[in-house]
């Protein structure tokens, strides 16, 4: 006769053993070294006693007074598969440790097996909310190694698509942030506006997401006829509707109580942790690569870098909302200033012959075939190219050995680095604040784990 209670208990143990990540998780205080504890409570960021009071390091808390609970990786508010282990004292969070890797895809390894032509399909799937910007970072790195110039029109098309993508990404952020806070209508609105942009992407590149549109040497296809009208409609609609979001969220007392003054971070802490993007700007540091180290043609358009003051949740929200408006400003200027010309480099090394010539000329056919089977060779060297993604500095470090495939491709993912701020931001807050912290840090797990 089988004792069901025993069996069920064993089963739970086995399942826990199967899903536990051992040392990667948060340990009890008894088995944590003092150095590690100081790190987990953020004491290493003390920086001469200015930013964190040394006496607030709670060495005297005992294990039997606290509880370690697990949140994720299948949790609705963790934006994917982030797993957090929280040490709670009642309702208050003392220590937090993010456990990542649940979406580790081995993209850096796969990137070494794909040629430079194919590489775009790989990187575009890293940060799935801003595929164009991923491709841009990768393409710019390859172009720097090759030393080729991109035609003026391609530069502006890239800029147009990047900014539309930034709007798209921030809209999804607005939607999910609203849902995390219980503002479900924001979820519906955010996704509704996003569809406008996705329809334009589909028209231009053929896909809604993961476009593989920006490629080394230019972009994959020219903009469709009448794109100006489409983009103007998108700009007008979304710009008007951002004011609806103001009414729905910005001035809402319930929303403000969850956001204003919650989880602040200072500029010193942000810099020490290497945070970039809206997290860094919310502390008042005006650092936006589009302005400070301009790439593409960002030095020829007029836009504002939005900065916050307090570094709290509300600043991060307000920055993203206003960046939607600024991006739309840039998009409007792209419509006006879009030059004519080629949409991709005419260097035969990287660019296949036009489709029409393949039917006529044997050389063109061979050229096309070789380019897409063998790829092109990139001279030896290493390069780091950085662009401003919606989440911060997106860098691509590329090592080339002279062959047709990258020797090493490393992506500096802004979410991965920004995630380190979570323990600091959550410390001392309640569990419900923890939800808003995850949301406003805005990690995209595909990019964190790569």
């Amino acid at each position: 006769m089988i004792d069901d209670t025993v069996r069920v208990a064993e089963r739970i143990d086995l399942l826990t053993a199967e899903t536990s990540e051992g040392e990667q998780g948060l340990q009890s205080r008894a088995s944590t070294s003092s150095g590690q504890l100081r790190r987990e409570v953020g004491a290493v960021l003390r920086l001469d006693g200015k930013t964190l009071d040394p006496s607030s390091i709670d060495y005297e808390v005992r294990d039997d007074e606290t509880m370690i609970i697990n949140m994720g990786p299948a949790h609705p508010s963790t934006h994917g598969v982030l797993r957090l282990m929280l040490e709670l004292d009642g309702e208050f969070v003392l220590r937090t440790k993010p456990v990542v890797g649940y979406l580790h895809t081995g993209m850096e390894k796969t990137g070494e097996e794909l040629s430079y032509v194919q590489g775009g399909t790989n990187v575009t799937r890293m940060d799935y909310l801003s595929p164009v910007i991923n491709e841009l970072s990768y393409s710019m790195a390859v172009e720097k190694l090759l030393g080729i110039e991109v035609p003026e029109r391609a530069v502006w098309i890239r800029m147009l698509m990047s900014e539309l993508n930034r709007v798209c990404s921030h809209l999804v952020w607005m939607a999910t942030n609203g849902m995390d806070l219980g503002a479900s209508s924001m979820m519906i609105y955010g996704l509704r506006e996003r569809e406008l942009i996705l329809a334009f992407f589909e028209k231009t590149a053929g896909l809604r997401m993961n476009l593989n549109y920006v490629r080394p040497g230019g972009v994959a296809a020219d903009l469709a006829d009448g794109w100006q009208d489409d983009v103007t409609v998108i700009c007008d609609t979304i710009h008007d509707r951002t004011f609806d979001y103001d009414q729905l969220l910005t001035g809402q007392p319930l929303f403000r109580q969850r956001m204003v003054g919650v989880a602040p971070i200072t500029a010193e802490e942000a810099l020490a942790l290497g945070l970039t993007g809206p997290l860094l700007r919310s502390t008042g540091v005006p650092w936006d690569l589009r302005r400070t180290m301009p790439y593409l043609a960002y030095d020829q358009v007029d836009f504002d870098v939005i900065v916050g003051t307090y570094g709290d949740n509300f600043d991060r929200y307000a920055i993203r909302l206003n960046e939607i408006r600024e991006s739309i400003r840039i998009v409007r200027q792209c419509i006006e200033k879009m030059p004519s010309g080629d949409y991709r480099s005419q260097d035969p090394k990287v660019t296949p012959p036009p489709r029409a010539r393949i039917g006529e000329s044997m050389e063109a056919l061979i050229h096309h075939f070789k380019l897409f089977t063998e790829g092109f060779q990139v001279p030896e060297g290493e390069v780091y190219s950085a662009v401003e993604s919606p989440r911060g500095e997106l860098g691509c470090y590329l090592v080339a050995d002279g062959g047709a495939k990258p020797y090493r491709i490393h992506v500096r993912a802004p979410s991965f680095v920004n995630l380190q701020a979570i323990p600091l931001l959550m410390r001392g807050g309640t569990v419900s604040d923890a939800i808003t912290v995850i949301s406003t840090v805005d990690p995209v797990m595909g990019e964190v784990d790569r």
Partner: protein
Amino acid sequence: MIALPPLAPPGVLTSDGHDAAICCFPTKQQYVALVDAFKNDGFEMCVDLCGVDYLEFPTRQLPSGVTPTRFEVVVNLLSLSRRERVRIRVQAGDDEPEVDTLFDVYPGTEALEREAFDMFGVLFTNHPDLTRILMPEEWEGHPLRKDYGSGRIPVQFKQTPGPR
């Protein structure tokens, strides 16, 4: 190309950085002191840290005087005030790569160093919590090493027999 910071340890080899302002090749002993000197010189942020395995590409170009090793740790620093980047490449060793941690200089390198450890097996001395970060805890091997297979499974275009 910019000059090395005044506090830099003597004898650091450098080269033109192309996209960065300067590329430095410190030895393991000079490494942390050099990064610290750059930090005092206005490089507020450590943007990126990654490992590279040069097993299949030992002929890379290095300034004379640098002994190439199999593993390399590449650090990218950023100065917000001067709007400059520097790159530091340190030769980490052949079989058991090991360098000192940058955690005390830039706490933000914690996760990046854990990733380099997970993917390449580079040990970072004095790192507060050197555990795997992306792979499962009991995983064997370091996947981004060049002698580690990609794990590709041949694609079968025929239905395989067997119960489903």
